[in-house]
Symmetry: C2
Subunit: 150 residues, 2 copies
Amino acid sequence: MTKPMRHLEDFAVGDVIKGGSLTVDAAMIKEFAAKYDPQPFHLDEAAAEATFFKGLAASGWHTAALTMRLIVESGVAVSGGVIGAGGTINWPKALRPGETIRLESEILEVRPSKSRPDRGMIKVRFTTYDSTGDVVQVLVADLVAPRRSA
Amino acid sequence: MTKPMRHLEDFAVGDVIKGGSLTVDAAMIKEFAAKYDPQPFHLDEAAAEATFFKGLAASGWHTAALTMRLIVESGVAVSGGVIGAGGTINWPKALRPGETIRLESEILEVRPSKSRPDRGMIKVRFTTYDSTGDVVQVLVADLVAPRRSA
């Protein structure tokens, strides 16, 4: 990776990092679903029409996985890697085939660890937008960030 | 699907549903990572040794995706499909190659919708265990559940 790698001290609350984008097509949605979320509304256009989604929609976990790709490629560049302990995830709108998603990351908290002087945690809100500018996912996650002095 | 499909009225707080299992190998971990989470600790055993994980580990999103497969195949059988609005996710321990994961689902809440008489929401804790019986993921999610009268 050629991005400058950041330590805990390099993040500040309120920082906003604009990320990259990628386009999802029906084949990608179906391929993911066949492996990880084999339900009719993620697998087949015709079958999806009669469901809650009224048409093919990406699995929420596919949206999460594609967002992770954007995070790794163009989001917060944490030294040592983007390593999450967990978080909250919401999908306000389904991701549809043909949409281009883009990522925006905002730093919400920066906390040195009390027990581990070599690291801390940052809390980041990762918002994923579709082509229309609607939010398809909000992920608020705690990430491990090494300290520069370590 | 051949499972009996449940409506909102068929779930009760405290119900526990034991799910199926599947085994994850290094090739699966690397294949997922190459597409969705291309970081050294998910892609290559040797490179992973020098990282936070000290060895190859599955992406948390891979753990989530595999858990979703178990949910669809053997978890809560919600009429109309397992459709989540969001939730909280935590990965207390990394998922390693060679581990067999298994799923346990517990119903935490059952709530009819105030505005939509045809549906409600259930809150479910999905716990994913590895071969040792350690927890590799806890997902607490709100799922849409249609009412039987609908």
